[in-house]
């Protein structure tokens, strides 16, 4: 059962369309399992969910307890598709004209689920190539921007349509990659 809520734009210099909070359906026991959803009544409605995922990063042949490679410090190097941007660059992107959806990932260095989310977004970037633009913002670096955007739980994703009349969609917590695909394909 989807629950949409329109938020008034944050009082700041950032320019963004009105924001919808997107809720996923209650947990289902399916091939893509969901964990418990929870619901904080704070400044904004959000949800948290987690799911299993397949990662392409299984390079080691040694028996390891990790599902994927350890997080790499050079995740901002050039060959990563999801680029880390500054607040000014993101605002330029949002203000400017685009023909593809924009996905902004707000993360923090020491947030575990953000690492998993970053890997999912890399996979998504490979899948969508030039049909979606995915960028990330370090909330510790861009403190004021994150505050203006009312980022609370991490990771937080904003999905912004190229159509300025459509509302932006915001999600909190680790979400399944299929949900991201659904939002991009159906809502944008």
């Amino acid at each position: 059962m989807a629950l949409l809520q329109i938020h008034s734009p944050p009082p700041s210099t950032t320019i963004l369309p009105p924001i919808l909070s997107f809720h996923s359906p209650p947990p289902l026991h399916s091939s893509i399992p969901y964990s418990n959803l929870k619901y904080h009544q704070q400044n904004s409605l959000h949800f948290t969910s987690s799911t299993t995922k397949n990662t392409p990063f299984s390079l080691s042949t040694l028996p390891r307890k990790l599902l994927c490679q350890p997080p790499r410090g050079k995740y901002v190097r050039e060959d990563y598709l999801v680029k880390k941007l500054s607040a000014e660059e993101v605002q330029e992107l949002v203000k400017g004209e685009r023909s593809v959806p924009l996905i902004i990932d707000f993360y923090a260095t020491w947030c575990g689920p953000c690492i998993l989310m970053a890997q999912e977004l890399e996979m998504l970037a490979v899948e969508y190539e030039n049909n979606a633009l995915i960028v990330k913002v370090d909330t510790d670096d861009e403190y004021e921007f994150s505050r203006d955007m009312q980022v609370r739980g991490l990771p937080t994703l904003f999905f912004i349509s190229p159509d300025p009349s459509k509302d932006a969609i915001r999600t909190e917590g680790l979400i399944p990659i299929q949900m991201m695909r659904d939002i991009i394909d159906n809502e944008m």
């Binding site: 969901y34 929870k38 307890k65 350890p70 790499r72 020491w110 575990g112 690492i115 609370r152 739980g153």
Partner: protein, 148 residues
């Protein structure tokens, strides 16, 4: 002493958090940013705390110990910089105030009341990401976060 002075002026110090002052604006608030590795002592304290609390609460670490390691380091980093292990998976308007207030100090209120840990540090057995372990070694933490 000299090392500390150097450390505070550069961002490459190891084990010593650096503080940046607010960039303009009318608010005179100390802005605390995570820039360097947490101290070994704090990591060890948070590691022991995580193991003990997982046992006590009947929760388990993630199958991917990388997630557990990163969160433990995040807690250690906040303990170093703020004096309290503030949840690393949230963004705060005022970190020192939040650390003083205590709602999001690990174990946070949602965890204590409902066993909900959105950092995926403490997972209930029915969670699909939950592994079977309630222990993690310092070596595992170091290995998983070696490249960060």
């Amino acid at each position: 002493m000299t090392l500390q002075a150097q450390a505070s002026s550069s961002s490459f110090a190891v084990g010593i958090p650096s503080f940046t002052s607010p960039l303009g604006g009318s608010r005179h608030r100390l802005v605390v940013r995570a820039k360097v590795e947490p101290s070994d002592k704090s990591v060890e304290i948070m590691r022991k705390f995580s193991e003990q609390y997982a046992r006590k609460s009947g929760t388990y670490f993630c199958v991917d110990k990388g997630v557990t390691s990163v969160v433990i380091k995040g807690l250690a980093d906040h303990k170093d910089s703020l004096g309290a292990p503030l949840c690393p998976c949230r963004h705060y308007d005022d970190k020192p105030a939040e650390a003083g207030q205590g709602f999001w100090n690990c174990p946070c209120v949602p965890m204590r009341e409902r066993k909900e840990c959105h950092c995926m540090l403490f997972l209930t057995p029915d969670n699909d990401f939950a592994g079977k372990e309630q222990t993690i070694s310092l070596e595992e933490i170091r290995e998983s976060t070696a490249n960060m």
